[in-house]
Symmetry: C2
Subunit: 751 residues, 2 copies
């Protein structure tokens, strides 16, 4: 970033000399160089190890080789570092400001994680002060670089950086209210609380997967909208992840895809501090992360001195940017709690306040004379430029966009709708509708008709399946595959990686309001991605989850593949819509609801088996969550109310026909979404489920847990409270008593 | 296995010559050797590529290097293969028998996955006919080799092998009933349906993680019980996993631990057929699996011709067994649907029947003149030896154990109790009990007292945490860490790998009835491991899940860490106990229940915050699921019933005290486990929750979903139906209205 450039070569060299004096000897003991140590197979930066004192920061436990590619990379990096850097003494002052803002906030809250911010302050400073392009006064500027703190417990690092950069969301009083009720500085980064925070992290591994989604979105939009004369979409995605994130399977899933897709503008910093909550990572984590990432197709760089090696970090970022066809992992060896004389490099500094005594000792050790929360004037002054510079960056881009708009009207309009999240007028008219005469079909197939209809009218609509596209029926026929060399396409192939898929979709969704990602697998395998789905709900990420094979109706694959408790488990989750449509119109209605709910994810449970199009089903009905499908009663006084969802609504309707033949006044209610029904007026609810009518029978091929709320203590819930079985679907329905006969018997017992 | 040896060197060579003729050219087209191809960095087996026709079976898309270690390995392997093999023509007949049993069963069911069995039949044959030690007439013989089909959809491979080997669980009629109601041959392998199947697989990645658990159990028991003069515990664990398993994060988690622990007797076959449901793995899976596994610390071998390279496979297994300090991944390049002239090597053969026409074509192509389900006489005869040999193996081991028992009385008794799963008499007396005078404490701490008490009396009790031992309070103080060089210890360090942890515990649990594994993380992170927990419930694996920080009571970490819907989500799951103890006695009771339920997993939700020991709490009460804690009413007619669980029972008790001061007759009910209460007699239920008393108030710091069942439509459920917040715990409880005041107000409104 030209603006942060201020020095000559000679000054930079002096600066580096100073920095090596500034380094804290404490942690170097266990890091002494082992005999027989050989150079890395990824580029260690020669420029970063002028003195042996630096190279001794290497953790001894890794076995490494040197490739020719790396040697050349080293040279390049070494040369490139020696331009434009800030005077090192000021950098160190800024870095220590970040460290102490974290220390002081955690101390005041007497709760939090000081260790990571203290160790990662140097990379954090360089990212926010020298590298990243953003506008503090508009955290939502479209073309900003994205930053994700995957190791979310270290959120004070990000809060300190946002504070220094001039974001209104993190003022001094916010830092002082860290982890307190109603503050904008919660215990983990939350995009819905703190503008400037892109995604919600803390559950380990989610953040790096979100970052893959953010980088995918950039690559996709750039491919669609950039022109030879105008690179209108052009930003990087940066992430910091720790040892914990690295151990999580979701991180490996997402990083394997990032390598496959060649996300060259994704740059991840691996905070290699060798400490996790249980102590040294040696007790559970001795794999070679760099070899694994080599296998995943990443470019790997190792910064041996993450504590004071500012030029190493700068050179690594330069090298990473120079590699355009691969994501880069920058392994930065740091000392957790750097600067704390008695707690650095131990788990004790990971997750609790240092304590007054150690805070004083750390102030002495880092020569920090200031009061808690104090930002030295020269640091303030230095960072103050980011507000005007950020405004200038956005203005520059706006001008560029105005030019673009003149030349490329159509593309500009499309991109604008993605940036603003405005749905094109009349988009919902694209949704198909059906009549009882329409052929019976599985809702997974009807879903595909909706997906393809929506893709035609929604420019930000894209997604795919976890290797089940042909079973989930999720292919968009008018588009090809999003791949390394065809990123403009919209069919995303996630492979068998449900958890990574969900978190990647969260990243896509939170990149731009107009991006509407969907993803798919068998409903039962929401168990694999539940942590990501919960983050969708919490972080107000309107991902559409297309979940097929939603009951014992899938048949022979058996109990491992048959969801039972899943509907209940999502009905209990806050801020998510669990939708189970029964036919074509209801499937279209479910998609209408899902598209309109941009701050609430939707799960569509869809059938593998064919279902008839039912008289009375409607899109409008679905929007109310529960509605009367058919009724032969009058005065809102049916003899009995039969309630069904999805594939069992047909069964309820059949039972009603029989009961009516016997003269009963029967109401059939479709209960496609409990959450939407809860949001209706009491009058409407009474009109569908009159309190006076206690004769109620529900039928759903899933757990009866929760149904007492709907059928009442006098009613009967027909469902499945055991695991499924392997057999043809019809046989299982019969054996499990999910039949019209069972409904009729239950109804007669009640009226 | 000496008994399967029958040939001389010369015959073996003849045999191999035949085999290379027998190879089917069909699939080799897309597999032609790319220009610039270089040798692997793991040992490709020289012995396995006598003709170029073999090496052309290599999939072109991988870039590989050669290490010196590998070269020597090649030599060793090459030599060792040339003893004891069966005549190849007979091997091929046996292999084709396996293929056609799979083809015919899938065809008859018109449902299933023929592709994998057709491709993996050779490795399957060699494992069950030449390598593995088992007793068909006693599938539960303790010292048997374990086999796990992680790619569970290919279960017909295992059913065919169990059938040929003489297991009573899979007779011809069972094969003909594949995937039908009530059969012992369900759509995926289920240990509770089919003796001979060790674990339940199908959800991808679970099986290989189970295998890691089985191998961990063997290494642990061997270290504890083997003597210089008696290796009483000594078996291998074999697994077959496919591309799908390899993509799943759980597989990477478990395999990283397997490498860390150096599980040398774990040998995994990676069925590298390059096809998944969506087509060629090139569309989503281009990482180098071998490089990744090198990073994970595994020994890697590549069998280039898995279709007909029998000696390659044999040599690979020999080499794997020779590597004692690392698990081995044998990458076996196969052709999915091998033998099918028109469907081999395509996704169309993965998951559906070939169809009559293609079945005929395949019969012609593989020169198979037999009727469906026919096993040729010579194949029957050849396999018939496994029944007597298996009986001999077990008898031999029993004799060995008798010797062992004489010399090592104590160890023998302990090992026997682990093998039989008999709990030592009076074990439950070890559980601590408490009085109201006992100091208030967090149930996570009380849990640690129970864990340590149980470890003293239960020889098969072991477990650990996903890097939260110091927060979950799960360390067993009298034991050290289970590590590569201290496998006799019982504290397992799982790292931040919740999903892998759960599946590994399933493997440990299903290894021997007396092994009782526990594992721990924060309750909210059950979302990361839910798929493994569900398999515990389905496969009757009595794992104990120690889940702490079970509500907003954890405070400042905020909504990402605060469970809300989790209690409801597990109450809806079949065959699992969701226990939420309120104090010391209830925690002890929860552990008593968990230990006694060996075929049903238990989840203990435990508090981070201190809780008082309540008057009236008891172990016996917990065993009934719900019970009267205190009551000042008479005649089973209280004015109001207050119901609480876990940390909120204290609040209900406080509210009761206040209401009683005002003259109300108040019953306080602890509802620690809904499932256990449901199992009580109607009389008991009525004695706790009399139908006549509709004035009921429940309080629980979680979703109210499902509580209508307990409090009825006239009652009131106090809970949290939104996400949590970041603040001190007390503040959140107050702001969310989880207070005695709220209970009192609700109670007064009802009575």
């Amino acid at each position: 970033m030209a603006a942060s450039s201020s020095l000559t070569l000679s000054q930079a060299i002096v600066g580096r000399a100073i920095s090596s004096h500034g380094s804290n000897p404490t942690p170097s003991d266990r890091l002494s160089l082992p005999a027989g140590f050989t150079l890395p197979s990824f580029s260690g930066l020669k420029s970063s190890t002028p003195s042996s004192s630096h190279s001794t920061r290497l953790s001894g436990s890794r076995q490494i080789r040197l490739s020719s590619r790396s040697r050349s990379a080293i040279k390049a990096a070494a040369v490139e570092t020696l331009d434009k850097t800030t005077e090192t003494s000021l950098v160190e002052k800024s870095v220590n400001t970040i460290r102490f803002l974290a220390i002081d906030a955690v101390e005041k809250a007497n709760s939090g994680h000081p260790g990571l911010p203290m160790g990662c302050a140097p990379m954090g400073h360089i990212l926010y002060d020298e590298i990243m392009r953003y506008n503090p006064k508009n955290p939502y500027w479209f073309n900003r670089d994205r930053f994700v703190l995957s190791a979310g417990h270290g959120c004070m690092l990000q809060y300190a950086l946002l504070h220094l950069a001039g974001y209104d969301s993190v003022k001094e009083e916010d830092l002082k209210a860290f982890r307190q009720w109603g503050s904008r500085t919660p215990g983990h980064p939350e995009n819905f609380e703190t503008p400037g925070v892109e995604v919600t992290t803390g559950p380990l591994g989610q953040g790096i997967a979100n970052a893959v989604g953010l980088a995918l979105a950039e690559k996709h939009l750039a491919a669609r909208f950039n022109k030879p004369d105008s690179e209108i979409v052009d930003h990087y995605t940066y992430a910091i992840l720790g040892d914990g994130c690295q151990m999580e399977g979701i991180a490996n899933e997402a990083c394997s895809l990032a390598g496959h897709w060649g996300l060259g503008k994704l740059i991840a910093f691996y905070d290699d501090n060798h400490i996790s909550i249980d102590g040294d990572t040696e007790i559970a984590f001795t794999e070679s992360v760099e070899t694994r990432f080599e296998g995943l197709g990443w470019h790997i760089i190792w910064v041996k001195n993450g504590n004071t090696g500012y030029d190493e970090i700068r050179a690594a970022i330069k090298e990473a940017k120079a590699v355009k066809d691969k994501p880069t992992l920058i392994k930065v060896t740091t000392t957790i709690g750097y600067g704390s004389p008695n707690k650095a490099n131990s788990y004790s500094v990971h997750g609790s306040a240092l304590g007054a005594k150690e805070v004083d000792a750390t102030r002495k050790n880092l020569a920090w004379p200031y009061e808690p929360f104090h930002v030295p004037e020269e640091v303030k002054k230095h960072w103050s430029r980011h507000v005007p510079e950020g405004a200038a960056l956005e203005a520059e881009w706006n001008a560029k966009f105005a030019e673009y708009e003149k030349k490329y009207k159509e593309e500009a309009a499309e991109l604008k709708s993605i940036i603003k999240g405005e749905l094109p007028a009349g988009w919902e008219k694209a949704l198909p509708t059906y009549t009882p005469e329409s052929p019976a079909d599985a809702t997974r197939n009807l879903s595909q008709q909706c997906l393809n209809a929506l893709a035609k009218v929604l420019p930000g609509f894209l997604g795919g399946s976890a290797d089940l596209a042909s079973s989930n029926m999720t292919l968009l026929k008018m588009f090809g595959d999003f791949q390394k060399n065809t990123p403009e396409e919209r069919n995303v192939r996630f492979g068998v990686r449900e958890h990574g898929m969900g978190a990647i979709c969260n990243g896509i969704c939170l990149h731009s309001p107009g991006l509407i990602p969907y993803c798919a697998t068998f409903f039962v395998f929401t168990d694999y991605m539940r942590a990501a789905i919960r983050i969708s709900a919490l972080s107000e990420s309107g991902v559409i989850y297309v979940m097929t094979h939603d009951s014992i109706g899938l048949g022979e694959d058996g109990p491992t593949h048959q969801p039972i408790e899943h509907l209940a488990s999502f009905r209990a989750m806050p801020n998510i819509l669990m939708l189970r449509p029964a036919d074509g119109n209801e499937t279209a209605g479910a998609y209408k609801v899902a598209v309109l709910n941009r701050k609430r994810p939707s799960i569509l449970a869809l059938s593998r088996q064919k279902l008839p199009n039912l008289p009375g089903s409607s899109i409008e009905g679905v929007e109310k969550g529960g509605y009367i499908l058919t009724d032969n009663s009058s005065g809102n006084k049916p003899d009995v109310i039969l309630i069904g969802t999805g594939s069992e609504l047909e069964i309820a309707a059949k039972a009603a026909d029989e009961l009516r033949k016997e003269g009963k006044a029967v109401r059939v209610v479709s209960f496609v979404s409990w959450e939407l029904f809860d949001e209706q007026s009491d009058a409407y609810k009474e009109s569908v489920l009159p309190a006076a009518v206690t004769a109620r029978v529900s039928i759903e091929a899933g757990s009866t847990f929760g149904w007492e709320k709907i059928v009442g203590s006098k009613g009967k819930a027909i469902g499945i409270d055991r695991f499924g079985a392997s057999a043809p679907a019809g046989k299982i329905y019969k054996e499990f008593g999910i039949t019209a006969e069972a409904v009729i018997v239950a109804a007669k017992a009640l009226c």
